[in-house]
Symmetry: C2
Subunit: 444 residues, 2 copies
């Protein structure tokens, strides 16, 4: 007797990102009540399941939905606003003045809407966010149904969101309280960086993080300059200071990590810290190289993020996996130090582990949420196929992402967004482009 289920997804290859079944060929995935309930050979399906919807995807590769492990979603509106500049000129003369003028609930909400559209279009089903107005990020994510881990930003300076660290924390926790019942949302403390948050709020965050079991999401060792300045002013490397303040634990997500000694690597390994690698941002801002091969060898969990669109300039995790794999090789001089399979792992399970949600998603396994992404490899640039994962990482581009599901909900079908209006996205862009061009005009 056959069982009636919600969805069947049949495709040529399934990269489960599990140790037991790394790659399945000609399998069907069974989804019911938004969860993966079975994985079985295609020829066994008819006798066991009937589905309300059956996706016959041919030469597609199905992977776990991609986890963007670090971004500032609303900065999507600033992509291409200022490029090819040294970091401090870029920030001081362009990005911060623009943000200072425009930061508002509307800016964050609409910028995040646009970012979510781009992320889903390119296969991302979960993002780890650090910006302002977290309630607007929550609202935009909930409306579409994408999974989000929302950082509650803390910084010593006043912004349109809060005036001082105590207010950032209290306003952030109020947003956490408002949304903590939502199954697709998680929250973390997001102290901006060692050089922008002083000891007192960091100590408070360390305590609250353990008490509430909330992760800490922080830029750390983004550049050698940051590390050198910290040594000058505190006598310590930033990681050492964070360790002494009690922040380093399996709840800690260290973003960037480009200037690391072997002692630093041991410290993060010993404390179960997760590293969020943002290769394209590190390249574009000339920040430096995150030693992903050495971190992997030391047993550190690695995730991959795009960073904000203003320093990338996209939210394309397919491209980011590729850059991660390519950069790791040339930076280490070892062509075998970080493989296509490593990149896929970090962008799925690695991200889910870092966010503490690997029990829910990150791999294709019975019992997990149906957070999925299908890529059509029947494309001039990805034929022939010897290893579908190698073709995904080294040859495919984001336009080959054909279908995306978040928690069983179909978000992209044959390359078309099903729950987001492109014309609304265009209107958002036009509105903010006009305001940003005015700003540029007034400044010059």
């Amino acid at each position: 007797m056959t069982q009636i289920v919600d969805q069947l997804i049949s495709c040529r290859w399934i990269a489960t990102v599990t140790e037991q079944n790394p790659l399945l060929e000609d399998y069907t995935l069974v989804v019911n009540h938004n969860k993966i309930v079975d994985l079985l050979p295609q020829d066994e399906v008819a006798s066991r399941y009937q589905a309300r919807e059956h996706f016959q995807l041919g030469d597609h590769l199905l992977i776990p939905g991609l986890v963007n492990a670090h971004t500032h979603a609303a900065m999507n509106l600033l992509k291409g606003y200022a490029d090819d500049l040294p970091l401090m000129t870029w920030l001081n003369d362009h990005i911060w003045p623009a943000e200072g003028q425009l930061m508002s609930d509307e800016f964050v909400y609409q910028g995040t809407q646009l970012a979510i559209a781009e992320m889903i279009r390119s296969g991302t089903t979960c993002f780890n966010e650090m910006y302002f107005m977290p309630q607007q990020v929550a609202k935009a994510a909930l409306e579409v149904g994408i999974r989000a881990n929302i950082g509650l930003t803390v910084i010593d300076f006043p912004t349109a969101w809060a005036q001082n660290p105590a207010e950032y924390i209290s306003k952030g926790l109020a947003v956490f309280d408002q949304y903590k019942g939502e199954s697709s949302l998680r929250f973390s403390f997001a102290p901006h960086a060692p050089y922008t948050v002083s000891d007192e709020p960091l100590l408070k965050i360390a305590t609250l993080s353990q008490e509430l079991d909330l992760p800490i999401h922080m830029h750390v060792h983004e550049t050698a300059h940051e590390v050198n300045e910290a040594i000058k002013s505190t006598g310590k490397r930033p990681l050492q200071r964070l360790h002494e303040l009690g922040l380093l634990s399996p709840l800690f997500q260290a973003v960037h990590m480009t200037d690391l000694t072997s002692e630093d690597i041991q410290l993060v390994a010993d404390n179960g810290v997760h590293v969020m690698h943002c290769p394209e941002s590190n390249m574009k801002l000339a920040s430096g190289f995150c030693p992903v091969g050495k971190l992997k060898d030391a047993g550190v969990n690695l995730a991959i993020g795009t960073d904000g669109s203003a320093s990338n300039n996209d939210l394309d995790m397919l491209g980011e996996m590729r850059s991660a794999a390519l950069l790791a090789k040339v930076a280490s001089g070892q062509a075998d130090c970080f493989s296509a399979h490593d990149a896929l792992y970090c962008a799925t399970m690695g991200g889910a582990k870092a966010l503490g949600i690997d029990n829910l998603c990150g791999s294709i396994e019975v019992g997990k949420s149906a957070d999925l992404c299908a890529i059509d490899l029947n494309h001039i640039a990805t034929m022939p196929v010897f290893d579908p994962v190698a073709q995904l990482i080294y040859s495919a581009s984001r336009d080959q992402v054909s279908h995306v599901w978040t928690q069983g909900k179909l978000q992209l079908k044959d390359g078309q967004l099903t729950n987001i209006s492109l014309s609304e996205c265009r209107a958002i862009c036009e509105h903010w482009q006009t305001r940003l061009l005015q700003l540029k005009h007034n400044q010059s």
Copy 2:
């Protein structure tokens, strides 16, 4: 009175890649007899021209067709065949054995057909080729109408194409004689690398190159290992040896160039040598960093190439420009050392100059051939637009290439190839995939 012309192309932006008019807005380009005959504001067109075909491209950016300055086209069939391996394992245990078994007229012809399809699909209108069976490359390029500079490979070792350097040269020159009347084809000598070609054939090539005005296309300083081994065996750096043999001149195209001292840079600058930068191949094979910022500052002409698909793994010049811009920054530590505009220049005019065809193509100017590429920036990932060139380099992907013309011939229309059959490409892939999988099976 209006003039009747072949084609009008109207679009929002035209990046001419000339000093006088870097970016035109709301202009129309006029094509007649395969050449660019005018560029004028859109509102002046009606009173001056009538066209057989008028492309109204809206929010598109028109650029000169991209010049892929270094590739081995037929290796497209080997993409993803072996990845994530150290260079010598990759070559000795995988690539060379496969080539040894399969190299034939059919392999090169069909592999090149597939490569041309991928190149046109992603905006490339000219490629600089180095492989075997050059007559097959000529045949495949002529059939479609893509511009090609075909390397006449010379190597000390026997292959299916020739047995010794003298035979490589004589067979190569016979192909040159057969095709030299074709306006879309150019030829060059392609001695493989300093470590695979001895002095005698190199001296002969130096003489013939000057006599016939044929460029020389060569891998040089691909890795520090190559340079160190050369110093051990000859006491000289490879570039110095090539200089002493009389090869370095404005006819010389040096590919890779990752291990360069300031003396090396001065030497290539003084001799007018062109550098063909292949960033993704250098990353994937962990070869090293080409110091593009320093070369640019020294006045060296730079071009950008994808290298063969087996070490990239694609022929996507949009992605390659992006990797070039990102890698230059992180490798030098300077975020302003190589801009989006620099990347576009190198991938168009830089390539055309290196190939000695900048009088024909490489920029959008009256009198030049209509080698063109249009990119649709009305896409979720490239909105809003502040600088269309920055969006092209940092945010666009190859699927946004909408139209391509080679010498006035429409090759891609709304993303669809007009002169190449995709089903034929699929059949080619299936055929060679079967043979390559058999090889893998027999080896294991």
